[in-house]
Symmetry: C2
Subunit: 479 residues, 2 copies
């Protein structure tokens, strides 16, 4: 069988070639298929089901903070994109342009949205008049296009799926508060649901979003020690409001500019999920995000009663609130095991004639491969406990990995040596001058990931230039 052949070929080992391992996993776990459209991916059912769970969980969290969903056009007229100077400079080089509609050439080019600040600003300028209209807390789930030259599934593709929240507020304080609030929503979601620990902080001016006053980020560390920017939250101040004339009359009937934010998280996070937790057998999904949490696999399934019992077990697990499935296909148990492992399903439940005699089943954890013999009388309950344990163990392991791979440097020599030899984050003080930031990038290819929310200090001076240090920065090589 073509399919069987595909899976038994072992995937590349992570330590041998991490990039190839990643590509093998996204293909063999059937998350993604390449398409005929350059740089665009097809998200297959197992990949899309992960995205649906991410959407469900994040959407609920957004709505709890008062956010409402809307849908904006996918096209932006060129003149609209150009209204905010920094913004257009940041995005114009990487957008796709529609120049023909039907059989006619358009009078004005339309870009396919790379992000929708300009559309939301135009919308807000129409619907905001009074302080009673504020705040506006809108979000949309959509796809965006950025014309990238080198692409990788989930991590960087010409088109990707995301949500983009856009809010308008009466005061600067409120906007700043919302920016941080949404960063915390992302951070909590990543840690609680995806079991991915993150470093929260502010981007340097060089790394901030085109047109933003300030950008906050959550940074995660992949298994190979590279950083992945996993979600960002921007405070625009009143910059866009001035460019788009978004004004409201306050309680004293004075015209004021609104203060805005935007924040986004994309299918890129699925890349993080793979690269933080996966191993040489494939994907490893934290139970809370896994579309299938338990796979029931019958042993000697042709023996009388085995399939019926397996199906009964599947129902017991479902009744306990577990997303369970039964693999009743005619493949061998060994084959089914490696398929369940490749797909990262958190537990498998094995049941055969001998187990039946003893009124038990064997639960095997995907994360540790530990086998647990469980009485059928308490199957659902025990499986739930094991899933919770897996969830917290996976987070603990990822957290330990992050901590073990976060280094400090007090001199620039030490910094360069650490970056060269030890994959991970390197903390170092910084004077705040872009010249030092650029020098570090040139010397080491490491970029500033963020200025973390911490009082930690590693010294008084910037090790690069010797001038007084302003802040601590996390540096790292990044995806």
């Amino acid at each position: 069988m073509a399919k069987e052949k595909k899976l038994v070929e072992s995937i590349t080992s992570m330590n041998e070639d991490f990039a190839q391992w990643y590509t093998d996993v996204v293909k063999k776990a059937e998350l993604v298929e390449y398409s005929n459209v350059k740089g665009c991916m097809i998200i297959r059912p197992d990949g899309y089901a992960i995205w649906e769970n991410i959407q469900k969980e994040l959407d609920r969290r957004f709505k709890e903070t008062g956010v409402e969903n809307v849908y904006m056009p996918m096209f932006i007229p060129e003149s609209l994109l150009q209204k905010e100077k920094d913004h257009v400079e940041g995005f114009a080089p990487e957008v796709a342009w529609v120049t023909q509609g039907g059989l006619e050439t358009l009078q004005e080019r339309l870009c396919v949205r790379p992000t929708s600040e300009t559309l939301f600003c135009d919308f807000y300028s129409r619907i905001i008049q009074s302080h009673r209209d504020l705040p506006k807390l809108y979000n949309q789930w959509c796809s965006v296009v950025r014309w990238e030259k080198t692409t990788r599934p989930f991590l960087r593709s010409a088109e990707f799926l995301w949500q983009e929240g856009h809010t308008a507020h009466a005061t600067a304080e409120e906007a700043e508060e919302r920016t941080i609030q949404m960063l915390n929503v992302y951070a909590d979601f990543c840690e609680e649901i995806l079991a991915i620990p993150v470093v929260k902080g502010k981007k340097t001016d060089k790394e901030k979003f085109a047109g933003a006053h300030s950008t906050y980020t959550i940074e995660a560390l992949m298994h190979d020690g590279k950083a992945l920017q996993s979600g960002t939250s921007h405070n625009f101040g009143d910059g866009f409001a001035r460019a788009f004339e978004i004004q409201y009359s306050d309680k004293e009937n004075q015209l004021q500019y609104v203060h805005q934010t935007s924040w986004g998280l994309s299918t890129r996070i699925i890349g993080a999920l793979i690269m933080v937790h996966g191993d040489d057998s494939g994907l490893k999904l934290p139970p809370r995000i896994a579309p299938v949490q338990a796979m029931v696999i019958p042993i000697s399934q042709r023996k009388e009663g085995v399939m019926e019992k397996a199906s009964e077990l599947c129902d017991m697990l479902k009744a306990a609130g577990i997303r369970a499935k039964l693999d009743g296909s005619d493949k061998s148990p060994g084959w089914k095991f490696s398929e369940q492992e490749m797909r990262g399903i958190p537990i498998r439940v094995e049941i055969g004639p001998k187990d039946m005699e003893q009124n038990q089943a064997v639960i095997v954890r995907r994360d540790t491969r530990e086998k647990l013999v469980v009485s059928l009388d308490e199957l659902g309950e025990r499986a739930l406990q094991i899933l919770e344990t897996i969830q917290s163990d996976m987070f603990a392991r990822a957290k330990e990995h992050l901590e073990m791979h976060t280094y400090s440097a007090e001199t620039y020599e030490e910094f360069k040596q650490t970056v060269a030899e030890k994959p991970g984050f390197v903390k170092m003080m910084w004077c705040g001058d872009e010249a030092c930031e650029l020098k570090i990038k040139e010397d080491t290819t490491a970029t500033s990931r963020c200025m973390p929310f911490t009082d930690e200090s590693l010294g008084e001076v910037c090790p690069v230039c010797g001038r007084p240090a302003k802040t601590l920065v996390y540096w790292g090589k990044a995806y």
Copy 2:
């Protein structure tokens, strides 16, 4: 206040100018805002919340039949679009073309998907090898673009949201079965959830989808007697499979072409929801689809205890499983009433000092304006009953309207007179010749809506040409 002024201007009466009434409602119920992008609409929170409920309900029904969600690229290379002859002829004149990516001119134009048959076919040709890989039952929720000249919110816009299901099967029988199954999913959804009765049937060859073997449709009748095609399901036979070489090896190891279907329902259905149920006070939403089912409105809200009580009532309704909200703003009760009516919220719950004395509240039905005095001891329970009654009454009224406006014609003269004088469906026999279909359209502007699933016969001959009749057809003027 700008906002108050906007709503008190009464909307155009339906009988005076139905098209203007529709435009007023979508704007004043804040479902849609026009955008800077020609022909594209902004779907506002109250509009999008309806779409989210439609998605939730349909998605659940799809998944119950085994369908899985995926995501395909939004671009189609021109050469891929051209692979199936009829398909490209049908769509090429109305697509938007991307010709530039970043700063470069593309070697091959990409069209923004108007529908994704070609992408799914290309995908299926890669992943289907064996009979074990079948069936494939995939769906995607996305936006599509069709370059329309004249546009109207929800009904016809350059970009709209929809779902498109695409399936591949081993046999022609299975494909036909799936086509009808999904048509029935649409019909049941419309009738049970949207309270919109539909006529199910097959499209004539002239009206079928570009590239389809046969197209099935559900047709709804709007308040003004015009028809709206509300969902379609297509059987492609093996036409696309031959063009895209989608073959599988059967159990005897022989190569066979797959048989395919596709089916879609779009934000257009929100237009139907408005035009089937609405009245001169605005929107009227069936309870099962309404984002807010009950609005609690305090009377004399500054009197002691009223706001607290209103909030308590809101909690009681929520505890009963009702999507309830409290309007605690400082607007007048009369203003709040008309706002609740404009937004189509199925019931409002009024509570004031006198009601409190008597331990009661007044429930007002949006559909009939009937007032019901309800004891607070059974508020949740009674509200639930009333919502169920509204749901079934709304369906019954729409059904009666459909039946009252469905006419029969036995001669062509009678047909022409009915079409001219009586808005609605007109049933008439047909020979099956496109010439007669074209003549009817030219003479009356009515088009064939569908050949219904019925044995009904109105005679032996086609009243247009006098030749033997093959089938009964529903004719009507359509959106």
